[in-house]
Subunit: 422 residues, 2 copies
């Protein structure tokens, strides 16, 4: 009987270190050739499984696999494609199992956020119902840091580092110019429902500078009057004001300050444009000259300044997923556990997908300062270790070397294709 | 007779490496204590001279001065304050000379762009008219790279590197997601009248990816029809399209695609919001899902990924300015000269400020590809060496260490203050 194969797919928005998790999976599987045959990757995530469009990772060199450790974005392609409930979308789940069966895939590694954890759980449940022997392990990934059951999510630490450094740098810029020019600078960062990324900008503070002076969290209802008063007071006192705003900043009635009306495949509002909205508000009410930046994909692709801690953890959850699968586990996710020691130490834990799926972990109130515009000492202590260490990529000619895989297809075995509802 | 003192000031928008030029000035002056007494810096640029608000740089430690080499923005404060013509604003020029005389300042080092070169020249001319012995040396600085008489301007190489890396990283992100999500990504970069920064994004190209697929230069009149056709063709062929747009992109009649109506102190239009404008155009005409980023101050403060070549050159022009002053020169600017060798080599040259002042060097047509949306091989060859080398700052706790100076004031000697027209 041939050895069982594994399937690995990347899901949802990519991160600077999701490929480091892929590297962890592939290198761990390579060490256990006694138990795992090939690792097939889904081309463009789960869509590749549905289409039976699999990538044979055994065709890549060891060096290319190692290169994933320092390459941002999704090396096999990712997707925004949500499988609905088992009832609504049974054909899709059955198709997945059919593809897995055709390629003797018994290990399913799904690398994504909360929605993907839910999909992973459902695949596990359906395979059991159908009597198909499959172990489904979810590998955590999200820059938003909103997965429950884990101290933090791989991907977040690097984005936190990028945002904190960018805030420190831009604050120095504004400080140098404020006497005769820009008084207010606004940086819009990602974070639809949770303000973890915005919060991490608190690390920009130094003894010499309080910037960022104002952080807008989705967790704290936006109060225009309080906000403008805080900005004005800050400019009066410091000469300038640096604001870091989470794209998910919203009013008490849950209205996003900047809802473009567009929706993504998961039905979430597609946000953006908050920074200019705030800038116009400040200009019209307070009259200050402003500048604003929207870092958008730049923040989540910025592998050039990834956190070493984040890279290590992303690799470790990939590696642990393989170990868990080989230990016979199913419907679980490796987690990051923070040891309660003074010096930061972490280890890999484990959570049941039932506890993970479809739950968002927001920034706790105790991590936010009393006035709602900053981060408390407890919050600081949470963020600090996650950005430790600079995991620089190698450079050639002044530009980072990022790996491109061959991504050769696996020969299809099923007669039928599958029509996706994209 | 006491030794002559020097005055150094930073002017206009700051850069990741303007402090490296300051470091060059201060370290070179420290070596020539036989000829130069103290170096006073203007607090907030030339405004500090007008107000007699001088900083005594001799109070800083050697380590702090060295720290300027790796610190972005303007360590003494910069300003947007343009001295008008000698006729319109004679009182200001006379005030400068009065302050210089009161502090026995005989060397004037002005670190800025084209407007500042003009100011520097006028200060030199007026001091001669008034019979005050002063040597005025302009130290080139602008991220826009639009100074004439020099192969490139210190500050540009680092912004070029940041933008090229960011483009490469964001392109990988879009490529991973385009099957089911974002098809078009737009990065808006600085460059009001010259597309040097946008052009440098061409370095993001790799064997595996043509991104950026479209570059918008202020030098090429924006043609909506051609632009949309190029975007559509690119998405058809590659699955996605990455656009890097100069904020100064404009139509044939000179109308900026995104003119907010605001004007800065120099009377220049304050731009911003081009990226969302282009995104809406693409969405409404072609229907593609988009994302956009505006890097704004982030790009010009990004010391964390500065080009070593740029840092070296910024330091060298500061050092050369001191040497030129001591060699008796006046109304000149050290320049970067590119040797016509195959391997990139540069040296310091010299230009008369009459040749430099108020002239903008735009991207030559031969550096731009035939269709106007890319960079020619000649352009590539120009950009490539300027981003070479990674001049990383030191880090502590995962965050870069940037220097804060004491910036202690020099005791005023003039009875009268001076009212600025801010």
């Amino acid at each position: 009987m041939p050895k069982a194969n594994a399937f690995y797919a990347q899901s949802g928005g990519v991160t600077p270190v999701i490929n480091a998790s892929a590297c962890g999976v592939l290198e761990a599987a390579a060490k256990r050739k006694d138990a795992i045959g090939k690792v097939y990757a889904g081309r463009n995530g789960i869509v590749g499984a549905l289409r039976e469009d699999l990538i044979d990772t055994s065709k890549e060199t060891k060096a290319a696999i190692r290169g994933l450790l320092t390459t941002p974005a999704g090396a096999f392609g990712s997707c925004r494609y949500k499988l609905r409930s088992l009832e609504d979308s049974r054909a899709e789940y059955e198709r997945l199992i059919a593809v897995f069966q055709a390629h003797n895939i018994r290990y399913f590694f799904y690398n994504g956020g909360g929605d993907s954890a839910d999909t992973c759980l459902k695949v596990s449940q359906l395979s059991q119902k159908l009597g198909y022997d499959l172990q489904a392990i979810h590998i955590p990934k999200t820059i938003d840091n909103d997965l429950p059951c884990t101290d933090n999510s791989p991907g977040f630490g690097s984005v936190a580092k990028y945002v904190a450094i960018s805030t420190r740098e831009a604050a120095l810029d504004v400080a140098s110019m404020c006497e005769t020019s820009t008084k207010v600078f606004i940086l819009e960062v990602m974070g639809r429902h949770a303000g973890w990324i915005a919060g991490a900008s608190c690390l920009a503070e130094t003894e010499a500078s309080e910037a960022p002076h104002v952080i807008l969290f989705p967790e704290i209802a936006f109060d225009e009057k309080k906000f403008l008063a805080k900005v004005q007071k800050t400019v009066d006192r410091c000469g300038y004001c640096v604001i870091v705003a989470s794209e998910g900043a919203q009013t008490a009635d849950g209205r996003f300050l900047s809802d473009s009306g567009a929706r993504d495949a998961f039905g979430h509002a597609q946000l953006g444009g908050l920074a200019p909205t705030l800038a116009n508000l400040i200009k019209s009410r307070l009259g200050y000259k402003y500048h604003w930046a929207v870092s958008d994909y730049l923040q989540r692709a910025a592998r050039h300044i990834a956190s070493q801690t984040d890279v290590d953890q992303a690799y470790a959850v990939g590696e642990a997923a393989v170990e868990m699968a080989l230990a016979g586990k199913n419907a679980v996710m490796p987690t990051i556990v923070r040891d309660p020691s003074k010096r930061y130490r972490w280890r890999i834990g484990e959570a049941s997908l039932k506890q993970v799926a479809n739950r968002e972990k927001r920034v706790p109130r105790k991590f936010i300062s009393r006035d709602g515009f900053g981060v408390s000492p407890l919050g600081h202590a949470y963020f600090e270790p996650l950005v430790q260490g600079e995991a620089y990529p190698r450079y050639k000619g002044g530009m980072p070397i990022y790996t491109t895989l061959k991504n050769l297809p696996v020969t299809k075995r099923l007669a039928q294709g599958f029509e996706l509802q994209l």
